[in-house]
Amino acid sequence: MKESLWKIKKYGAFTIFFIVLSIVLFILLIVPIFNIMFQENPIVLFDTLFTDYVAAAIMTSFYCSFLSTVLAVCLGIPLGYLLARYNFPGKRIVDSIVDLPILIPHSVAGILLLATYGQQGFLGQFFSNFGVSFYDTPWGIVIAMFFVSSPFLIKGARDAFENVNPNVEKAARTLGASRSRTFLTITLPIASRGIFTGSILCWARGISEFGAVYILASTPLIGSVLVYFEFQGSGLSAVRPIAIVLILVTLVIFVCLKLIQGKSRPVTRVS
């Protein structure tokens, strides 16, 4: 049971000290966000949201990130399951490689992707045979977002699968379900909540990406790249409404997703 923090008198110096530090942290995070919010007129924000090129950039951000999340779900669920259920030689290496996109600077990630998927890159040349190009196309945005955000999904799926009691899978097998039936009707539904959380993080990380996308596919414009170009061209005051709109829209969608997730029935591990 967590104790209610409102009855503050009950707590000693230790808890109060931790509360104070937490408030400091919170201020550091929240002040920049609120600060910029109060510098703009709501009407200007409203107009900005419905300016064609701003709305288009936001849509591109969301849509490309959604596609990259779908790709990550399709490929990340099997890997997450393998990592959760099996021991194999080189498992730690695979684990580290999954973490790598989080560790390297995103500008560097962009360089790597450009060298591979760009017009001179070997995958870029390979796909150009099928008429698919990544340089300055939506596909490039999707690939760049996928590269930097898929670790969130893979780790989310792995943790979710690790929390599924292996005995539940064994029980399903003895009750006549094949491996794939067990996975689809037992394992995946139980893990779905954790995987959904991973997908939200993956999607949000995709939207927030700038460096890798900017280098591989700076057009079509996505939100973060648009903000950068506007800042370069017209300065802080011109870019501010766009930045705020980007924050607000992302925040609203993120909160909505969290609410959907909270409403789905909690599935706790029976142990």
């Binding site: 009691n165 005995n167 539940v168 064994k170 029980a171 399903a172 097998r173 003895t174 009750l175 006549g176 379900a177 094949s178 039936r181 009707t185 037992i186 539904p189 139980i190 029935r265 599935v267 706790t268 591990r269 029976v270 142990s271």
Partner: protein, 351 residues
């Protein structure tokens, strides 16, 4: 009916070695052993969840060694119940019928009947995480039994329950098993469970079968030191035995005292005595009892209805005795009380 032939299986650092076993039709068979003995792994091999490295498993003469679990028709009940947390109780029970081609109305009827039989109708629409341990285990039983399994496998199904629920479910389980006449293999580390449930017991230690027999054989004639200690022979002494053909008794010299035993062994032996076979009194009992030894109570463990006494016979020679709480009070016993212990010659096991 179910035959295990020379089963070997390495599992990490652990090894199951040369398991050879036949389980008979309708038998209640128990794997009894300490935790980490390999009982669960063995049970899971019978279920097909793991395959042995070598050896064969035959069911009614057919080799099923590498048959996947979904083709074996085994009902498996887990210690942690392993209910599907995202399904309601009735859906949990229905799950085993889904791969079978049964019309939906028929399926629901079967589920209903099963819930009636186990007494869990009122739980039908609940989710597992809202149920008590006993309720969850009942659902797990129903879920396993609905597929009409050929073999019923239970892995410490009662050990996560509280004492009263354990006794209650143990009785129900036995009733169900006898009624359905279903071949059952049950894993436990609890020797009381084994005595009350089993037709036959296999004692398992370190991945090997140490002894197979009826409860009586196992608990009254342990084959080795491990079985003796594991089945509750808390008192054991090294000694030298000498057989007297006239009395047909052997005398075991344990150093500081001697005990007479109904056995013809000679030479170096180990003598084992169950604490419940040791009687305690204030004066030497006037009976034909062979072994009466004086001692002093040096420890009193209150175990509720019974009391376990540690009686010192001589320096570093101690004997455990169980007496009822009532006789403990009647005899007015206490720490350091001088007492006599009495043991029948037939109660001493010699190995």
């Amino acid at each position: 009916m179910l035959v295990l032939e020379h089963i070997n299986k390495a599992w990490g650092e652990f090894q199951i070695t040369d398991i050879d076993l036949e389980i008979r039709e309708s038998e209640f068979f128990i794997f009894l052993g300490p935790s980490g003995a390999g009982k669960t792994l063995l049970l899971e091999m019978i279920a097909g969840i793991h395959y042995p490295d070598s050896g064969r498993i035959l069911y009614k003469g057919i080799d099923i060694t590498h048959l996947p679990p979904e083709k074996r028709k085994v009902g498996f009940v887990f210690q942690d119940y392993a209910l599907f947390p995202h399904k309601r109780v009735w859906q949990n029970i229905e799950f085993g019928l889904n791969p079978q081609k049964i019309p939906r109305t028929e399926k629901l009827k079967l589920v209903e009947e099963m819930m009636n039989q186990i007494g869990i109708n009122s739980l039908a629409k609940r989710y597992p995480n809202t149920l008590s341990g006993g309720e969850q285990q009942r659902v797990a039983l129903a879920r396993a039994l609905i597929i009409k399994p050929e073999i019923f496998l239970l892995d410490e199904p009662l050990s996560a329950l509280d004492h009263n629920m354990r006794l209650k479910l143990r009785e129900e389980l036995l009733k169900i098993q006898k009624k359905l006449q279903i071949t059952t293999i049950y894993v436990t580390h609890d020797r009381l469970e084994a005595i009350t449930l089993a037709d036959r017991i296999a004692i398992i230690n370190k991945g090997k079968i140490v002894q197979i027999g009826t409860p009586k054989e196992i608990f009254r004639a342990p084959k080795d030191e491990f079985v003796a200690q594991f089945t509750g022979y808390d008192n054991f002494f090294d000694g030298i035995a000498k057989y007297d053909p006239q009395t047909k008794l052997a005398t075991v010299n344990c150093g500081k005292f001697e005990i007479q035993v109904a056995n013809s062994k000679e030479g170096k032996v180990k003598a084992f005595i169950r604490p419940e076979d040791v009687a305690v009194s204030l004066t030497p009992p006037k009976s034909s009892i062979r072994n009466v030894l004086p001692g002093k109570i040096i420890e009193v463990q209150d175990q509720g209805p019974i009391i376990k006494l540690k009686v010192e016979l001589a320096q570093n020679q101690e004997m455990y005795a169980l007496i009822t709480h009532q006789s403990f009070l009647d005899l007015n016993l206490n720490l350091n009380s001088k007492v006599f212990i009495a043991i029948k010659a037939a109660s001493v096991q010699i190995l």
